[in-house]
Amino acid sequence: MDSTPMIEVSGLTKRYPGRTAVNGISFTVARGEVVGFLGPNGAGKTTTMRMLASFLPGTSGTARVAGFDVFHQPDEVRRRIGYMPENNPLHLEMRVREYLKFRARLKGLGWRRSRVRVDVVLRQCGLTEVQHRIIGQLSKGFRQRVGLADALVHEPDLIILDEPTIGLDPHQIRAVRALIKDLARKHTVLLSTHILSEVEVTCSRVLILNRGEIIAADTTANLGKRLSLDAGVVAEIAAPLAALREAVRDLPEVVSAEFESLDGDFQRLVLTPRAGADLRPAVYELARTHGWNLRELTRRHHSLEEIFVHLTRTRKEAE
């Protein structure tokens, strides 16, 4: 297998008048990886993907796909990528099969080859039953699959998907995710999303973008671990408030604690630990020794928002 990285980006910048959309980002994606671009709207995900698909030129910096420069060898690059743009634009008046055939031919596949490939992707994306229907009359989930089938039809080395699950219902999201996981076995995939759990399910590595900069790049597992280090612990304990406050104050690793009275005797407490500490055993111990009733004990998961707050804060502190 070729050892050149699938994507090599260095110092890539895109400036619009008065606004920098992407600010000198650098990263590489190896062959066979599934990488997620995570970030809020306006973080520069789409702009970066458009530049990789050689739709937009960068202001400065370089980007290579499979060793080809995206600005100087756009045809070579485009032949090797399957790109599904944001909002998945399709010719709505065409029929599914007809559209895929058109796209296959446009991407330079021969008549016979395009026929074979269209059959394959129709099966792969579960579109065989709807192949003669007009795209405009299909549900959004099916349309999304048509977009995926289009990205796959010319057997690209790299698949770039811009928000592949946006606007789908949970059932459809599951189906599309399963499809992407399936693709990951044979292709390199770069996808963007602003849903954290999506990255966790589908990707092996994450690049987090914020305001045009990569603020974190790590494997999904590592990132999760890093982010849960100082994750708070939530507990609901039936106890007198004053006694509880006192007991909590004696816990060694607690940085701050919030209390809230709930129904009956129950108090809800949210504890922020010192970095790296897991407070759950200590809280359980506390409830047990006092003989208090414990009905909930969880470690809070970071929402995407908190991740951004966290990451941007740590960056500022580092500077």
Binding site: P85, P89, E93, L109, D150
Partner: protein, 250 residues
């Protein structure tokens, strides 16, 4: 080349898959039909010995139809793709700017020629019914049709340019209509300017599309006219390509 023909097919197919294509062709048929009827009524009062094709193609009827129909044919080409977002999937497929521009031009041009075909049929029927050989001289009609094609090519390229400038089909149509009318008006001179001689007058004579069409309708192929039309077409296609390329830099 595969990509080029695929795109041309899709352009033409797209026109007839939506209602627009049929509406445009029917409108053109209605207008040509009315014009020919008008001409015949007029001829009944004042017999002339010029072929019907010459009378029609050199008339204002022809120009009105051309000016109204062309912007509607070309308005979709780039504007619609940009509005629906399919422009992005088109331009990230391995096809060049020129390939896209030429394919869109070829599609629009073919559609334009299709809208003029029914008229030939009408004339052929008239000739059969009246048995008047003079009505439709094959050679003269062929040259007239060449003129229709050449001038149409100019208007298609101009419309394409307008469509590449905007994402709104309406604005594209308005722009194309304005530019088209302006180009046509160059050949209409107010009576007071009849005495306009010298370099300006001669220059205006050269760019007068109406005069060029009159020659074509008479069956005269003037190479100057052919060169003029072709260079105008190339100019507008070139401008279109520049816009398509330039759009990326934003």
């Amino acid at each position: 080349m595969t990509a080029f023909f695929t795109l041309v097919r899709r352009e033409l197919g797209g026109a007839f898959k939506s209602l627009t294509g049929y509406v445009v062709v029917s409108a053109a048929m209605l207008l040509t039909g009315l014009s020919v009827m008008d001409l015949i009524v007029w001829l009944n009062h004042r017999p002339m010995d010029a072929p019907l094709s010459e009378l029609f193609y050199a008339s204002t009827y022809f120009w009105v139809i051309l000016l109204v129909i062309s912007p509607i044919i070309t308005m979709r080409s780039f504007a619609a793709e940009r509005a629906s977002g399919t422009y992005e999937s088109l331009m990230t497929a391995p096809v060049g700017d020129w390939e896209v521009v030429l394919a869109k031009f070829a599609g629009a041009f073919a559609f334009y020629l299709i809208t003029w075909l029914p008229l030939l049929g009408v004339m052929a029927v008239l000739r059969r019914v009246t048995g008047e050989a003079l009505l439709l001289d094959p050679r003269v009609t062929a040259v007239a049709f060449l003129g229709v094609a050449l001038i149409g090519a100019v208007y298609m390229a101009l419309g394409l340019f307008a469509s590449a400038l905007t994402r709104s089909q309406i604005i594209a149509a308005m722009l194309a209509f304005l530019m088209g009318i302006a180009l046509w008006m160059l050949s209409i001179r107010p009576p007071a300017a009849d005495g306009l001689q010298g370099p300006v007058g001669r220059a205006l004579d050269h760019v007068s599309l109406v005069r060029q069409m009159e020659d074509f309708a008479r069956g005269v192929i003037d190479s100057r006219h052919v060169v003029f039309c072709l260079s105008m077409t190339v100019l507008f296609l070139f401008l279109t390509q520049r816009v398509v390329e330039g759009r990326r830099w934003k």
